[in-house]
Amino acid sequence: MADVALLALVALPVLSGLVLWARGDRQGPVLAVGALVSLALTLGVAVLAAVEQPEASLRWGAGITLRVEVADLARAPIVLVAFVGLAVVAYALGYGEERGRARRVGLRVAVVGTMELLLLAGDLLTLLMAWELVGLLSWGLIAHHWRGGAPAQAGQAFLATRVGDLGLFLAAGAAFAATGTFDLAALSEADGGLLTVVAVGILLAAAAKSAQVPFSPWLFSAMAGPTPASALLHSATMVAAGAYLLARLQPALDGVGWFGPLTIGIGLVTALAGGLVAVVQPEAKKLLAASTSAHYGLMFVAVGAGYPAVAIAHLVAHGLFKALLFISAGVAIDASGTTGLAGMRLGRRLPTVAGLTAVGTLALAAAPPLGGAWTKEQVVAAGTHAAPWVGGLVVAAGALSAFYAARFQLVAYGRGPQGRDGSPDTRVGGLRTATGAMAVLAGAGVLLGLVWTPWGEERVRQITASSLPPTEAWEVPASLVALVLAVYAAVLLDRSDRLAVSSPAVGWARVGRWFDLALIVEVAVVDPALALARGAARFDDRVVDAGVRVVTAGGTGLSRLLARGDDRVVDAGVRGAARLGVWTAGILDRVGEVSFDGVVEGVARMTGAAGRDGRRLQTGQTHQYYAGLAVGFVVLVLVTLAWR
C-alpha cells in the first residue's frame, strides 16, 4: 500500500500532465478538472506519504537498484511541492492566451511529479534522472512561446544548470567507486579523496540549480517564460532542488573539511549580491528572481553551518511566499501592461491583490509573526553558531531583503494618485483564480506563523528529526532594527519618487543586471567555445582530412612514378629480354643450329609478347591497380603461410 503511494506521488502528476499536454487545446473544461483533481489527489498522497514515510525499490540492471523513500527532511517538501503546484496551476488555468494553454498547464502538472521523484530519490541514479527531467521540463516551460526569443533564453538556462548536472555525474562516479553502490545512505561510508569528489560534485550541482553565484543569471534568462512557470520553478521545484539536495546530504558531506565553510561562503555572497541586485533591478519579475537567489543563499548558509533542518524550514516558508509574490507580479504585469515596476502603483485599482501581496512581502521582509520571519531568524542563529560575523552578515542580507520587499510592495501596489491611468474595471485575465490562489498561499503563510510558538517549534524538530540552532539574545532585536531601518529607507525614497527606478548611474544598472555576470560568462566562456568549435571544424576539414588527401595524392604520385619506372626500367628490361632473345636467336641462327631454331624463335616471340602485355598492365585505372594489389596481397598471404 505504501509503495503504491510513492508510485502515485510521481506517476499521477507525470502521467496526467502528459495526457493533458497531449490532448491539447480541444479539451475545454476537462483541462481544469483534470489538472486540479490530479494535483489535489497528489497533495493527498503526499500528506499520506509524509506521515507513513514508506520506501520502495526497483531493480534497474545487474547490481543497480533504484530506491525511493521519504527521508525525514523530505517530509515537508513533498507536501509543499504538491500544495504550491496546485495553487499555481489554478492560477495558470486563467492566465495568458488560450492558445497553447493546455500544453503549458500539462507541463506544469508533470513538473510537480518529477520534482516529487527528486525529493523521494534514495540513490544518486534516481536523483540524477529526476534532477535532469526537472531541468528538461523547466526548459519546456520557459521555451513555450517558441516564436520569440524564449527558446534561446531557455537554452541558456538549461545549459547553465547542466554544468551543474555534470557535478552529479561526478558525484555518482565517485560514490560508486567508493562504496560500490549509488545509495545515498551508503555515502557516510565513503571517505578521503572520493568523498571530496562527491562533495565537489554535489555542491556544484546544487549551486547551479539553486542559482547561486556564479550561476545566478540563468534565473534572469528564465524570466522569458510565462509567469506561472516562474512561480512554480522558483518556489517549490527546480531551484528548490539544489538547497534540498545539500540539506539532505549534509550529514555525509560534513566529513569534508572545507564543505561547511565553502557552502557558507557561496550562500553569503549570493545572499548579499542577490539582495543588491533586487534593490536596484527595475523589473518586477527580475526583482523577485534576484531575491530567489538570495534566499536560497540563506539556505546554503544554514546547511553550511550544520543545520539542514533550518534550510528545509526556510525552503518551505520561502516557497509559500515566493509563489504568492510571483502570482502577484503576474497580475501587476497584466494590469499595467508593463514589466517595469515604474508604471504600476496598482493599490487603488486592485486593493484585494495589494492586501494579499502584503502578506507575501511582509514574509519576504521577515516581519514577525509570519513563518518566514522565524525561519530567517533560525538562519541568523545557525550562522552565528558557525561564526558571529556570519550571523551579522545574514542580518545584513535580511535588511536588503526587507528593503526590496518594501520596494516591491510600495511601487507595484502603492496607492498611486487617484484616477491615474485607466478605470478600475480594467480586466486582468483570470483575476479571480489569481486572487484565490494568492489567498490560499497567504493563508498557509500566516498559518506557518505557528512556528513562533513552542508547540510549532517542537513540530519542526519532530518532522525534520533534527536539532535547531541555539539562539542568542541579540539576534531578534538586531534583525528587527535592521528591518525597520530598511523599510523606513524605502518609504523615504518612495516619497521622493526614487524607489522604482534607481539612480541612472551606470554602476547601478550593471548591478541590476546581476553584475553583468551573464555577459562575462558569454565573453569569457561561450564565445571562445564557439570560436574554438568553428576553428576545430575548419581544422578538421583542412588539416586532418588533408592528411588523407596527401596520402591519396602521394599514392597517386607514387603510382605514376612507378608507372614511369615501369615504362623505362621494367618494360625496358622486358624489351631488352626480347632483344636479347632475338639476338641470341640470331647468333644461334648464324651458328646454324637449325634444330634449335624453332624453339628459340618461340621463346623470343613469347618474351616479346610478355613485354607488350607488361606494358598493357600500365592502364592508369584505379580499380585495376586495386585488383593487382589484392592479388599481391593473396600472394603475400601464401608466402607467409609457406614461411611458417
Partner: protein, 498 residues
C-alpha cells in the same frame, strides 16, 4: 535459424536482381517482407537464448567450408551480438520502409539494401574470424553502391573515399587476423578456439603489432579521430536511409569487432595498450563534439556527433580491458554501458538521420541557418527530432543516458580524470543539440517554408519503433541490461583468470 536470417535477405536480393518485370510496389512488399523475416527469426532466437547459459556463444550452427585452412561456416551468438543483430535487423526494416527518391531503380536499390542486411547480420552472427572478415568487407560493397548511386551532391567521390579508406583499414586488419590465426594449432579461424587459446599471449612485439593492425582497421570503421574524415562526406551525400544504416549498423561493426577480437582474444596485449585506446577515445569524444558544434550543415553535425558517441563506446571497451583483475564491477559497468551505447546510438542516430533525410526530400537543403519556426508547420517532425536530439544529448529517461551513465561511472572507477574530462563532451553535445532544435523549429518561419509538409504516414511509421525503443530502454532498461550483462561480465572476469 541464424543461417536463415542471413540467407533470406541474400536470396531475396538475388531474386530482385533477376525479377526485371516487377513493379515498384511489388519490390517494396518483397523487400519489406524479406527484411522483416530475419527480425522475426532473431526475436525467436532471443526467446531461446539463455542469459544464464554458457558464455560465449549459444545456438551455434557449424558447417565445414574450407577445412584445410580451418575456415568454417560458423554462426553463434552471445548477449552482445544478439542485441546488435536485433538492432541491425530492426534498423534495416525501418530503413527499407522509409520513403526516398529512387530514381527509377527501385529493384536495384532494394536489392542492395537486402544484400547489405544479409552481410551485416553475418558480421554480428559469425563466430569464424575469416567469415567475419568476409562479411565485414562485403558490407563496404553494399554501402558503396547505395551511396554512389542513390546519393546526392558529390556522392561518387564520397562513396569512393568511404570505400577505399575503410578497405585500406580492413586490409591492415586482415594482417592482424592472420597473425592470430597462424599461432593456432591446428590452424583454425574458429573464434571459440581463438578466445580459449589466446594465441598471441606472451609474444611481445608481434602481439603488439597485431593488436595495432586490428585496432587501426576497426578504428577506421568506428570511426575514431583522426581516421574519421571519410564519415562526414559519406553521410552528407548518402540518402537518408543509407545514412541511418551506416550510422546505426555499420559503425557498430568497428566497436563490436573490438569487443569480439582484441578484447576477447588478446587480453594480455589489450591490457598493456588499453591506456592508449582510452586516450584516443577521449580525443574522439571531445574533438567530435567540438567539431559537431562548429558545423552549420544539419547532416554533418549529426555525423560528427556519431564520432563523439562512438568515442564513448570505445572508452567503455578500453576501460573494460584495463587494470587486469581490479575494479571488476566498474569495468563490467563500462563494458555493459558501451554495448548499450551501441544499441542506443543505432536507434537514436538512425532516427536523426531519417529525419535529416526527410528534410532533404522536402527542400534539398541541409543548411540549418535556412530553417526556423517549423514547430507550428510540422509538429510531428518537430516532436520526433526533438525527442531524438534530447536522447542523443543523454537525457535521463531516454536510451542514451543509460549508456553514458554506465560508461561514465565505470570509467571513473579506473581513470577518474578521464571520466571528468569526458563530461565536457556531455556539455558540448547538450549545447549543440539545443542549438540545432532551436534553429530548425523555433523562431520565425521563413516564407519559403510555408509549404513545408509534416511527416507522412510511412515516415512516421518507420520512426515510431525506433523512438519507442529509445523511450522504453530509457525508462526500463532492465531487459536489455539482463541480456548484455552476463556476456560483459564473462569478458571482464576472464581478465582476472590467468
Amino acid at each position: 535459424m541464424l543461417t536463415a536470417a542471413i540467407l533470406i535477405p541474400a536470396l531475396a536480393a538475388a531474386a530482385l536482381v533477376l525479377g526485371r518485370s516487377w513493379s515498384e510496389s511489388a519490390t517494396r512488399i518483397i523487400a519489406v517482407a524479406a527484411s522483416a523475416m530475419p527480425l522475426a527469426l532473431l526475436v525467436g532466437m532471443w526467446i531461446r537464448y539463455d542469459t544464464g547459459g554458457p558464455q560465449p556463444f549459444q545456438l551455434v550452427e557449424e558447417t565445414d567450408w574450407i577445412p584445410t585452412l580451418g575456415v568454417g561456416w560458423r554462426l553463434g551468438v552471445d548477449g552482445i551480438s544478439l542485441a546488435l543483430a536485433l538492432l541491425a535487423a530492426l534498423v534495416f526494416v525501418v530503413a527499407i520502409t522509409y520513403p526516398v527518391e529512387l530514381r527509377g531503380r527501385h529493384r536495384q536499390y532494394r536489392a542492395w539494401f537486402l544484400f547489405l542486411e544479409a552481410v551485416s547480420l553475418g558480421v554480428f552472427l559469425s563466430i569464424d574470424l575469416l567469415l567475419f572478415y568476409v562479411f565485414f568487407d562485403l558490407s563496404l560493397v553494399g554501402m558503396y553502391f547505395l551511396i554512389g548511386r542513390w546519393g546526392h551532391g558529390e556522392a561518387r567521390a564520397a562513396a569512393l573515399k568511404f570505400f577505399l579508406y575503410t578497405l585500406a583499414g580492413s586490409l591492415v586488419m586482415l594482417l592482424g587476423f592472420l597473425a592470430l590465426y597462424l599461432q593456432t594449432d591446428p590452424l583454425t579461424f574458429d573464434m571459440r578456439v581463438l578466445i580459449a587459446e589466446q594465441p598471441l599471449a606472451g609474444r611481445g612485439a608481434t602481439a603488439g603489432l597485431a593488436l595495432l593492425a586490428i585496432l587501426v582497421g576497426l578504428a577506421v570503421k568506428t570511426p575514431l579521430v583522426p581516421v574519421h574524415t571519410w564519415l562526414p562526406p559519406a553521410h552528407v551525400n548518402a540518402p537518408g536511409p543509407a545514412s541511418a544504416v551506416l550510422a546505426g549498423v555499420l559503425l557498430k561493426m568497428g566497436t563490436f569487432g573490438m569487443i569480439r577480437i582484441p578484447l576477447s582474444m588478446m587480453r594480455d596485449t589489450f591490457e598493456t595498450y588499453a591506456p592508449v585506446l582510452v586516450g584516443v577515445a577521449l580525443l574522439s569524444i571531445i574533438y567530435g563534439a567540438l567539431v559537431a558544434l562548429g558545423q552549420t550543415d544539419l547532416k554533418r553535425r549529426i555525423a560528427y556527433t556519431s564520432i563523439n558517441h562512438m568515442g564513448y563506446a570505445v572508452l567503455g571497451i578500453a576501460v573494460a580491458g584495463s587494470l587486469g583483475s581490479g575494479e571488476e564491477a566498474g569495468r563490467r559497468l563500462a563494458l555493459t554501458g558501451a554495448t548499450v551505447e551501441m544499441v542506443a546510438h543505432g536507434l537514436i542516430t538512425g532516427a536523426l538521420f531519417l529525419v535529416a533525410g526527410s528534410f532533404w526530400t522536402r527542400t534539398q537543403d541541409y543548411d540549418m541557418g535556412h530553417y526556423g519556426g517549423l514547430a507550428g508547420q510540422a509538429p510531428r517532425l518537430t516532436g520526433a527530432a526533438t525527442l531524438a536530439a534530447f536522447a542523443s544529448l543523454g537525457l535521463p529517461g531516454l536510451a542514451g543516458f543509460v549508456a553514458e551513465f554506465q560508461i561514465f561511472v565505470g570509467t571513473f572507477s579506473v581513470y577518474p580524470w578521464v571520466a571528468a574530462a569526458a563530461l565536457l563532451g556531455v556539455l558540448i553535445t547538450a549545447a549543440l543539440f539545443l542549438q540545432m532544435v532551436q534553429k530548425l523549429f523555433f523562431g520565425d518561419l521563413p516564407d519559403r517554408l510555408r509549404g513545408f509538409v509534416d511527416l507522412g504516414r510511412r515516415e512516421a511509421l518507420a520512426l515510431v519503433p525506433l523512438l519507442a525503443l529509445v523511450v522504453i530502454i530509457g525508462i526500463w532498461p532492465t531487459w536489455l541490461l539482463d541480456l548484455l550483462t552476463p556476456t560483459s561480465e564473462a569478458i571482464v572476469s576472464a581478465f582476472g583468470a590467468r
